[in-house]
């Protein structure tokens, strides 16, 4: 398809004035978008990929300034008066964002918000705009559009909100749709649906799409051309196929190699069972109380049985709200639950906090959020040795310090870091610290609750490798909770698929990935790991 270039970014620079001085987020980049094609701008967090497009749309925050050219059909958007720009934004170029939960105004109905850009740009009357809005809702496959027009955003799921966002963006038949991480905040099955929808709409309407993403899977499946960004610069560009087959720049190679690989062998059949749950059940009570009426009972974990052997990794996968984190916490007796839980040869089903305390150092938990789970006012040394004060009070200060040094070495951090504070570390380093905090107690079982989800792919891979090494060195057992199937596949030898508090399917990793039996598992697998290339515009 030989078509004209409609958007051309030339020598674009974006600079933010911050308290620490000026920060250059984008350092003179060039990007071209031709009519009807799909361009992906790839990079890790902080690469400037979002700010590039924000600058093009004049949506930078007030301390940001863009210079250079963003030419749309020959006119520079950066220097255009606002009234002119508003005839392009939302009409010729429109944008959808990463945060479907907050990108719609919570105070107005879907219909109201959908009709607004239609009326504004096309000057349609109320009833005509309404018709048009209904048509758009049908276009993005929102069920029961008549009723949905009267709904408020909070009454819809994330996936549906993103569909509404897409409908709004397409309301005026734009030339270019900029999609800024449009699926990152969504569950994998929903991600696939949204991507399919975008592909379908592109075929129907023929607009160009600019994908801003860190997800190479999306790029591989959808993009015609790719720009790889790093620290505000485009380090490589080219046709998607060629770039994937033969990456030139070291950074691109690293990104491509960052997909987690390898598998874990199952433990020997006679390995002892360390942690066992039988018919574990967790019920949350919502509402009720004084004059409040009947409470709502939510069965977050519904009679689940699980046996974790020594040196085994069980991956628990499922979408948000499936109860996987709750199950992990219940097994560690951090949440009240029904059913039987055994640790080694002890029944801990009824153990209260006091009874659990001597066992805690053998049962550790690592959280998803490496920012929120470390106290900002404690040094790293204090953070990781805090557990020793409780579990091995006999240790002297010097011995504790020695243990901190060992633990930090073990997770690949410089032991001298122990006098510094959490904010001085990157996300990946903080996750290492959180792991060191668990490891210093020499645990037998570690529950890893989405330990890599908040991290960039290349960092994820390092954490996965670290966790594997620690497991091999110490014969650890992991309960690995994640919605990221690629990471689970590399980490776990046994997998439990959860949906709405129940086990949908379980089995050895090979089996689950090789031949999933249940429809739900198949959807999940297809959504996540579809390596067949699926071109939007061919």
């Amino acid at each position: 398809m030989a078509s004209e270039t409609i958007l051309s970014v030339k020598d674009l620079r974006v600079r933010f004035q911050t308290l620490d001085g000026a920060v250059d987020a984008v350092k003179g980049i060039n990007i071209n978008v031709k009519a009807g094609e799909t361009v992906a701008v790839v990079g890790e967090s902080g690469s400037g990929k979002s700010q590039t497009m924000m600058a093009a749309m004049n949506l930078l925050s007030s301390n940001g300034e863009a210079t250079g050219h963003v030419d749309y059909r020959g006119r520079n958007l950066l220097t255009m008066p606002k009234s002119e720009l508003n005839k392009v934004r939302g009409r010729k170029i429109s944008m959808i964002f990463q945060e479907p939960m907050t990108s719609l105004d919570p105070l107005y109905t879907i219909g109201n918000q959908l009709m607004e850009p239609i009326r504004r740009h096309r000057g349609l009357s109320g009833p005509a705009a309404r018709e048009e809005a209904l048509k758009l809702l049908r276009l993005v496959h929102i069920p029961d559009p008549e009723r949905r027009m009267k709904s408020y955003p909070h009454e819809m799921s994330g996936g549906q909100r993103q569909r509404v966002m897409i409908a709004m963006a397409l309301a005026n038949d734009p030339d270019i749709l900029i999609a800024d991480e449009p699926t990152t905040a969504l569950d994998v099955t929903i991600q696939a649906q949204i991507l399919m929808l975008l592909a379908e709409l592109q075929r129907k309407l023929g607009m160009a799409i600019v994908f801003i993403t860190h997800d190479l899977g999306i790029v591989r499946r959808f993009a015609d051309r790719v720009y790889v960004m790093r620290q505000g610069e485009v380090v490589e560009e080219g046709e998607a196929e060629a770039l994937f087959a033969n990456p030139q720049h070291a950074y691109t190679k690293m990104l491509l190699a960052a997909e987690p690989t390898g598998t874990k062998a199952p433990p020997p059949a006679n390995a002892p069972v360390l942690l066992e749950g039988r018919n574990v059940e967790v019920v949350f009570k919502i509402g009720g109380g004084f004059l409040g009426g009947e409470p709502l009972m939510l069965r977050a974990v519904d009679k689940i049985s699980i046996r974790l052997k020594r040196n085994q990794t069980i991956g628990i996968v499922g979408e948000s709200g499936s109860g996987k984190s709750t199950l992990g916490r219940a097994l560690l007796r951090l949440l009240p639950s029904d059913g039987v839980i055994r640790f080694g040869d002890r029944d801990i089903s009824e153990a209260d906090r006091r009874a659990m305390r001597p066992l805690r150092h053998e049962l550790q938990l690592v959280f998803q959020d490496p920012f929120g789970s470390l106290s900002p006012r404690m040094t790293i040394g204090q953070v990781i040795t805090e557990g020793l004060l409780v579990h091995e009070p006999a240790l002297t200060g010097k011995q504790r310090d020695q243990r901190a040094v060992e633990a930090l070495r073990e997770v690949g951090l410089d032991p001298n870091a122990r006098n510094r504070y959490p904010h001085e570390f990157s996300g990946g380093q903080r996750q290492r610290i959180a792991i060191a905090r668990a490891m210093i107690l020499k645990p037998k079982v570690v529950v890893l609750d989405e330990p890599t989800s908040a991290l960039d792919r290349s960092v994820q891979k390092q954490i996965v490798e670290l966790l594997r090494k620690l497991q091999a060195d110490h014969q650890l057992s992991y309960l690995f909770i994640s919605h990221d199937l690629a990471v689970v596949r590399a980490m776990a030898d046994y997998i439990i698929v959860m949906k709405q508090g129940k086990i949908v399917e379980e089995g050895p990793t090979e089996e689950i990935f090789g031949s999933p039996r249940e429809a739900y598992t198949q959807t999940l697998m297809n959504a996540a790991i579809d390596s067949t290339r699926f071109r939007m515009s061919a």
């Binding site: 949506l59 925050s61 508003n86 105004d105 919570p106 850009p117 004059l291």
Partner: protein
């Protein structure tokens, strides 16, 4: 919704009961009584008076009597203004205080919101700094300074306004007291509005509205402002209760026959029934306005539902 209102009014009853009880015994703990005056009454007259008002009964009996009367809507006679019942005093003064208070509240909400919005839209620029300076001045200068200054400048020097008096509710007599009462509130509303508007303008859905090429008017007024007024709505409840029940400073300086004076005067004179009447009025206003605010909240924000 109706069920919610009913439930809230139902929970107001024990609240009021507790307030009345605490106030009743608290004021009795204070030494002295309604008839201990500087000049002193002869012991016989004092004994007579106390017997007449039942002040010699045991305290618990007085409490039971008071509650019984209160349930029948009878606040009792005022001890220090013996020609009037407490109900009559409020019937006369409360409308005046409500007029002044409502005007001040409306003025504060309108002017404060506008100033706050202007400041937010010009964050860290001249207009913003001016509003902040004004707001700081407004909330730091006490009313007992503002009131005499207004009297001095507009009343004595320029002779634009009367210096004081109610003048049977003539508009010109209200200007001074309303301004005095409103100024600190304007300052508070402006600060609140500025803060919540800045936050609202930063939210993701405002970014969406801009990306859709909507006009500035629509972005600011339709989308940002509606979200930003929520804290103002919360503020309005207690503020309305406080303003509408009168202000002793403003009413004293401008000689306005409202009810704001009663609270302090009555407490100083140990006019038990009047103190209690004032407590009940302020409590009822507070409860009712907080309920109204909660209902308004649900009107502005569809996510809030009381079912």
């Amino acid at each position: 919704m109706l069920r919610y209102v009913f439930r809230r009014l139902l929970t107001a009853i024990p609240t009021l009961f507790v307030i009345v009880t605490v106030a009743f015994f608290l004021i009795r703990v204070a030494p002295g009584g309604p008839f201990n005056q500087e000049r002193g009454l002869s012991p016989e007259i004092k004994a007579n008076l106390e017997a007449q008002f039942g002040l010699n009964d045991p305290l618990w009996l007085q409490y039971v009597h008071y509650l019984g009367n209160l349930l029948r809507g009878n606040f009792g006679p005022s001890y220090n203004l013996p020609d009037f019942t407490v109900t009559e005093l409020f019937a006369k003064g409360l409308p005046i205080s409500i007029q002044i208070g409502t005007s001040a509240l409306v003025l504060a909400l309108l002017l404060g919101s506008v100033l706050g919005t202007i400041a937010a839209l010009n964050q860290n620029r001249m207009a913003d700094y001016s509003v902040i300076a004004l707001a700081t001045a407004g909330s730091t200068i006490p009313t007992f300074v503002i009131a005499p200054v207004i009297q001095l400048v507009f009343g004595l020097s320029w002779k634009l306004l009367p210096i004081g008096g109610w003048g049977d509710g003539a508009l010109i007599n209200k200007v001074g007291p309303v301004l005095t009462l409103a100024l600190p509130q304007i300052a508070i509303v402006a600060r609140l509005m500025r803060g919540s508007m800045i936050e609202s303008l930063r939210s993701h859905h405002i970014r969406t509205a801009r990306a859709l090429g909507l006009s500035d008017w629509s972005v600011v007024v339709k989308h940002a402002l509606r979200g930003a007024v929520l804290p103002i709505v919360s503020f309005t409840g207690p503020a309305a209760a406080a303003l509408l029940t009168g202000s002793i400073i403003v009413e004293t300086i401008f000689s306005i026959p409202g009810v704001g004076r009663y609270f302090v005067d009555a407490a100083l004179n140990r006019d038990y029934t009047l103190v209690m009447g004032t407590v009940v009025v302020i409590a009822v206003f507070t409860i009712v306005f907080n309920l109204i605010v909660d209902l308004l909240y649900a009107v502005v924000d569809p996510r809030v539902r009381y079912d």
